[in-house]
C-alpha cells in the first residue's frame, strides 16, 4: 500500500492538504471505524452480562491472572513507543530490538489468553454455553485476533528491517504499525475494565 501514495501524487508523498500522509490519515479513519466494531461487540457482552443459561457467570473471570497479562500488553506498548522513536531517529538496530520486544510481549499476552480460554472451557464455559460465554469468547477472541495480526505486522517490519528497510525516511511504516498496536492496547484496557474490573466493583 505504501506505493499507492507515491503513485497518486507524484513523488512527494507528503504534499497533501492536511499535511498528514494519505496512509496515516487512512489508518486513523480505519481505527475510528474499528472503534464502532469493538463497541458493538462490547455492547453484546454488556447486554448478555446475566444470561448464563445455567452455566458459570461473571464470577469466573480471574482478575489476578488477567492483570498480569494486561500489564504485559501495556509494557509492549511502551516498547513500541521506544521502537517508533528509535526508527524516527534513524536507529534501525534499536528500533528492531524494541519491535521484537513488542512482538514477544504480544505473544506472551496471547499465551495468557489461550491458557484462559482453555481453563474456561474446562470449567464448563465454552463458546456455546450461554449468551454470556458466546459474547465473551467472540469479543476477546476478536481482540486476540487483532493482537495476532499486530504480531504478524511487527514481524513483517522486522523482515523489512533485516533487508535494511527501516530507515528514518521510512519510519512512517513503523509509526503506523505502532498506531495499530497502541489502538489494540487501548481496546484491551476498555475490555479489561468492562469484563474484569466493573463486575468486581458491584
Amino acid at each position: 500500500m505504501a506505493h499507492d501514495i507515491a503513485q497518486a501524487h507524484g513523488h512527494e508523498a507528503a504534499a497533501t492538504n492536511t499535511g498528514i500522509t494519505n496512509r496515516k490519515l487512512a489508518f486513523w479513519l480505519f481505527l475510528a471505524s474499528e472503534c464502532v466494531f469493538f463497541a458493538s461487540l462490547l455492547i453484546g457482552f454488556l447486554v448478555y452480562g446475566d444470561k448464563t443459561n445455567g452455566g458459570p457467570g461473571m464470577e469466573l473471570f480471574n482478575i489476578n491472572l488477567t492483570t498480569i497479562s494486561t500489564f504485559v500488553l501495556l509494557m509492549s506498548s511502551l516498547a513500541m513507543v521506544l521502537g517508533v522513536n528509535a526508527s524516527q531517529r534513524g536507529l534501525a538496530r534499536d528500533a528492531m530490538k524494541w519491535i521484537l520486544a513488542t512482538a514477544v510481549m504480544g505473544q506472551i499476552f496471547l499465551g495468557f489468553q489461550v491458557y484462559e480460554f482453555w481453563h474456561f472451557v474446562h470449567e464448563g464455559f465454552g463458546l456455546t454455553t450461554s449468551p454470556l460465554s458466546t459474547a465473551f469468547f467472540v469479543l476477546t477472541g476478536f481482540h486476540g485476533a487483532h493482537v495476532f495480526v499486530g504480531i504478524l505486522w511487527l514481524l513483517s517490519l522486522l523482515w523489512h528491517g533485516r533487508r535494511g528497510g527501516l530507515t528514518a525516511e521510512k519510519s512512517e511504516a513503523v509509526e503506523v504499525g505502532g498506531l495499530y498496536w497502541h489502538f489494540v492496547d487501548v481496546v484491551w484496557i476498555v475490555i479489561f475494565t468492562v469484563i474484569y474490573l466493573l463486575p468486581k466493583v458491584h
Partner: protein
Amino acid sequence: MATVAAKTLGFLPRPTSKTGFWSWVTTVDHKRIGIMYLITAFLMFLVGGTEAWAIRIQLIRPDNDFVSAQTFNALFTMHATTMIFMAIMPLLAGFMNFLLPLQIGARDVAFPRLNAFSYWSYLFGAIFLNSSWFWLSEKGVPDTGWFSYANLTSLKFSGGLGPDFWTVGILLLGTGTLVSGFNFIVTILNMRAPGMTLMKMPIFTWTTFITSIMIIFAFPAITVALLMLLFDRQFAANFFNVESGASVVFWQHLFWTFGHPEVYILILPAMGIISEVLPSFSRKTLFGYNVMVISTAAIGFMGFTVWSHHMFAVGMGPIVNTVFGITTMAISIPTGVKIFNWLSTMWGGQVKFTTAMLFAVGFIMLFTIGGLSGFMHALPASDAQQTDTYFIVAHIHYVLIGGSIFAIMSGLYYWFPKMFGRMLDEKLGQWNFWVMFVGFNLFAFPFHFLGLMGMPRRIYTYSSNMGWDFWNLVSTIGVFVLAAGITLFLVNFGKTMSKKMDAPADPWDARSLEWTIPSPPPEHNFDKVPTVAALDDFWYQKYPDEHHKDLVRPATPVDAHGIHMPGASWMPMFLGLFNTVAGVGIMMHSTVVLAIGLVGTFLAIVGWAFEGDGGYHIEVEGGH
C-alpha cells in the same frame, strides 16, 4: 511516456497494456473503475427489477400462484438486498469514483489499487449472492428479508443455505464499501487542488464526503451483527439463540444502527447529484451552498440517532418511542431546508428542461412525497397503524426510486458525455423520463392506498374479500410502464454508444472542474493541476461578475518529472476473488475451499505488497 522499472519481487508483473479486456481487469484508473461500477450496478438494477416484476405478477390478483410462498419470500429478500447493496449503492459509488478526483482537481483517488479492490469485492460479492438462485439446494436463496431478523435466521427456522449466502455475501459487499469509504475521505481531505478549501468544493463532493464518513461508522455495526449470525449458524454460538436466553431484539438494534444511516447513504449522494444538475440548467449558483453543506452534515449526524424508529412496534414503551419519534421528526428540518433551497436555485434562473433537468425536477416532486410519508412514520402512535404495511412500501419506493434512482438517471444524462464522450439522445431521453415518471407513480402511489387499507408487507398472497384487488392490479400495470421507461434508457444507451465520440468538454455550460477537461478525460485527467479561487470557479472564469472579477488563484504546482501515473495491477482482483472463495468455503463447510481462499488471499496480499511500483510518467505539452 516512460515506464518505471518494475521490481520483480511480485508473482505477476504489473500489466502494462492500455486496451483490451485484461487492461480493464487490472485497471486502477478511477474513471474506468467508476464506469465498471456503473455498468455492473445497472445490470444488478435490472436483476432487482426483474425480481420486482415477479413480485408484482404474483400480487396482480388475489390467491395467485405464479410463484410459491417460499419463492416469493426469496424474491422480496433478494429484491431489496440487490437494490440496496448491489444496485443503488454501487451506482452512486460509480459516480463518486468517476467524479470525485475530477471535481477536486486530482489525478486519481488516494489509493488506486484499494479502489480497484473495492470494485472486485463488490462484483464477486454480487455474483456470489445471486448465485444462490442457481445453487441446487433446498431453501438455498436468502428468504428472511433484507433485514433478516433473528431468530428466523437461526438454523432451527432456516435450515437451508439462504441466511449463509446472505451473511457472507453482505460481508463481502460491505468490505468493499468500507474500503471505498476510507479511500474517498482521504482523497477529499488530502488531494484537493490548490485553493480549493473545503467550502469551495462542489456539493456532490461534499455529499460523497459525508456519505463516506457515515459508511465507516455504520458498516462496522452490520459487520458485527453478521459475524454474530455467522458464529451462531456455523459454530452453534448463542448470540440470538432464544433457548439459551438470548435477546432477538439485540439484532434489531445492531441492524438498524447500521440500517438507518444506510438509507441516508443511499440518498445523500443522490441529493448531491441533484444539487449539481439544478444549478447547471438554471444557470444559477446553488442557493444557500453553506446551508446545504451544513444540512447534509446534519442529516448524516442525525441519521445515527434515529435507528429505533424502525422498532416502534417492538414494545420499547411510550418514553423510548417518543424520544426516537422526536429525533426522527427533527431530520425533516434539514431535509425541508434542502427542498426549499433547490426551489430557490431555480427561482430567477433560466430553467432549461434537458432530460437531466427533468429527472432532477421529478426528484424534487417524488422525494417530497416520500419525505412526507416518512414524517408520518416518525409519529410512533400513528406508525403503529402504518408500520409493516404497504404504506411503508410506498415510502421507501418514493425515496429510493423517486429519490435515488431518479437522481441517478439525472446524473447519467448529465455526466454521460464526460464519461463516454457522447451525448445521450435528448428526444429519447424526454420519453425515457415521462414514461418512467408515469410508470413509477402508477406502480408506487397505490401502495399508499393499500397500506391505509390494511395490507401488510411481505405477504405472498391475499384474499379477494380484503378489498385490495384493484390497486394491486394498478400497481402491477405500473411496473410494466416503469420497465418500459427503463428499456428506453437502454435503447438510448445502445444508440448513443454506436455513434462516434463528439461531445464537447463543457456541453451544458456547467460550473465544476470536470467540465474544464476533454470528454472523455485523458487518463491523467488534468494536463496541469487546476487551481481554484472560488466555489464554481469555472463558471466565473466564463462569466465573471462583480464579486468574482479579480480572483487570485494559487500558483500551479509543477510536475517535476512529468505526470506520474500508478501502474495497473492484478492483485486487487485476486484479493477480491480469493476473499469470495474463502466465503464460499465457510458457507459450504469445506475446509479445502476455505484453505484455497485463505492461501490465495494471503498470496494476493504478499503480491500486493511486493509487486513494486510499476508506475509510469506522462509528459504533457506545456506540463512543465
